[in-house]
Subunit: 389 residues, 2 copies
């Protein structure tokens, strides 16, 4: 059996954390599994390095940012390898380049092109735990690159795919994927099992995980487990294509969870589709939440990019309506497309509670409602507790 | 003109230091020179990383120590490259591996085997300042290595040799090579010029520099300048084979300076040369300071290794005399071999001042006297001020 385990920065924040991680890896190894570990940089190391860059120059060039940031995983992975060897477990650490993680040359947001895991395979065969720097790779030009946000998870899933691992465990500081953000919905529970589509939808709608790695897992059918690095007993969440649904009515709406996302502004304007095209070209409209009809467009943008849109409208002399500080509350699952009843229940609730809905966006895996931020908790809890979830 | 400049950790300790270094490099570049910069890790970064390792395990394995420590130069060199680009100077940073610095596979104390500077040469041709990670390389097995003590100076001199640079500037926190340690001899001055042999002798006898890089400079005839990173006006010390001696009598004793070294214990024992051979094989005798005759041996060892020697003698039941806490005070220069007069002057002084000399070691480039540590300052000042230095 081959397991790829990824440890996030909070799970490697101090020498003590590193020792705990090593203990867990050693136990897994001693149980008979081959283990490949993907390490993130320790705790706030990446932020610390970016701050150093910020104190040195105003706009750090991306190539050198990559050179700088990749120091982070070197530190954590070499310490982790030391800790394992100290426990009597043979281990070796490899940089992205030594691991054969070949990427595009797009500094700070490179994409993995290929993995040539010769050295990894050799060391696994020698019985070693192989520790790999997450988040980094090397381009065909032999330049050091980083994968951007969620990079370490992506490294882990990509390696699991290439090495045909039995599973990919993502160790985090939460106990798994929740049915809703527990800060918004206190009743939220850890989902034991969720399929790629729902996990992907929840990630893109604000759950604390990166969509990118789930897309990759889906593509290569990698069995991903989100686990707690603190609580080894917790079962966590399994993300895979095998859903345990044989006991359910085939066409029942199956809700996986509730996702909430804050920090948006809402716009509405009477413009043509050509004008909308220009708008999306020149401003940071969030196409994840946009809807257009021949007479008007509705869309969201991130709060901090608000000014760009406003000044675009003003420059083009386009009338617009704006609502600052809105949130999206989304129900994630499947079967929505054919279920007017869920939609109807929600609209009834909104009407009774006098919650103005500014926009709805529906697709096969979710229904999202855009409302003023003050309604976030109420709507999320209603979704979570009343839709037979 | 091509100049290799090496910046030590104290010259790159903070973003402000890095900005100053960048300014200096930019000025040199703007004067028309091609510049290759070798960067050490920032300030106490290496110590900090070693401490992290020490908190994680008791005995860190050397391979992972190298992986860990090489993170240090990545950080400093990428920040320095950013700072240069911010000043409008095109720059690019390269790891030891990207620079083609091929070493033996001896982790934590690798030796440079070859340098394949293709990428460096290409980037110089494009008008860029090339910033190279000091202290590190890659082995033929593609393992990350470090060069051990004095590693960054060695990287700089080796690159200067391979690139046929016009000179190699070592930027430090002192103003150059001193005629004696200023803490011991307050009258000590910066030497403006010194030849390889004397510099080497002074380095091996305790001056604040590494013998290794000077050996390399001598071998490849690299013109080395020790300069202050703080005081750009200071002329520093030029180390080269070209000595400005045409105005001096040909066979005059030419004194370069005084070197002092502390932290030794002195031993004397009546043993055969075979026994001495065994002793040097099994204990850390300092062969730099050892002398043997058919009837006895005299030698020094570093204070912290004292116990090994003592217990060796006890185990072998050999009688020995021991003097803890001795120092070496050395006069460095050339012409000593043929000058009994200098030797005689010193012995007279020792006799008058009742300073017991435990051992003397003479070679073509220095005369060293081993005395109790309480005499260090007096003897060093006598050497420095009275021998027409």
């Amino acid at each position: 059996m081959l397991v790829v385990q990824k440890y996030g920065g909070s799970s490697l924040a101090t020498p003590k954390h590193i020792q705990s991680a090593a203990k867990r890896i050693a136990d897994l190894k001693k149980s008979g599994a081959s283990v490949v570990v993907v390490a993130s940089a320790m705790g706030h190391m990446t932020d610390h390095l970016l701050k150093l860059a910020g104190k040195t120059v105003q706009v750090p060039p991306p190539r050198e940012v990559d050179m700088l940031l990749t120091a982070g995983e070197r530190i954590s992975m070499s310490l982790l390898s030391m800790a394992l060897q100290d426990l009597g477990v043979p281990a070796i650490s490899f940089t992205g380049s030594q691991s054969g993680i070949i990427t595009t040359n797009d500094h700070t947001e490179a994409k993995i092109v290929d993995i040539r895991p010769n050295r990894i395979v050799e060391e696994i065969a020698l019985g070693k735990v192989v520790i790999i720097a997450g988040f980094q790779g090397v381009s065909e030009k032999k330049e050091i690159t980083t994968l951007g946000r969620g990079g370490s998870d992506t490294t882990a899933v990509a390696l699991a795919a290439v090495l045909k691992a039995d599973r990919c465990e993502i160790l985090t500081d939460v106990e798994g994927l929740f049915s809703a953000d527990p800060r918004v919905v206190p009743e939220a529970k850890v989902l034991t099992q969720v399929d790629y589509e729902s996990a992907l939808e929840m990630a893109s709608l604000g759950a604390k995980m990166q969509a990118r790695s789930i897309e990759l897992a889906k593509k290569y059918n990698v069995d991903v487990r989100i686990l707690s690095s603190k609580n080894i007993e917790a079962k966590g969440t399994q993300i895979s294509s095998q859903q345990n649904r044989n006991l359910e009515p085939m066409e029942k709406v199956s809700v996986s969870g509730v996702a909430t996302q804050s920090g948006f502004s809402f716009f509405r304007a009477k413009i043509s589709s050509h004008q909308f095209l220009m708008l999306t070209k020149h401003t940071p409209v969030s196409l994840r939440f946009a809807s257009q009809s021949p007479s008007e467009v509705l869309f969201l943008c991130e709060k901090e990019k608000l000014a760009v849109i406003r000044s675009y409208f003003q420059k083009e002399e386009i009338q617009f309506f704006e609502q600052e500080d809105v949130v999206t509350v989304s129900l994630v699952g499947d079967g929505f497309v054919n279920s007017n009843s869920v939609f109807h229940q929600i609209l009834t609730y909104l009407d009774v509670e006098k919650i103005e809905c500014l926009m709805t966006v529906t697709n096969s895996a979710s229904i999202s409602f855009v409302v003023k931020s003050e309604f976030k908790e109420r709507l999320a809890r209603f979704f979570h507790n009343n839709l037979k979830f």
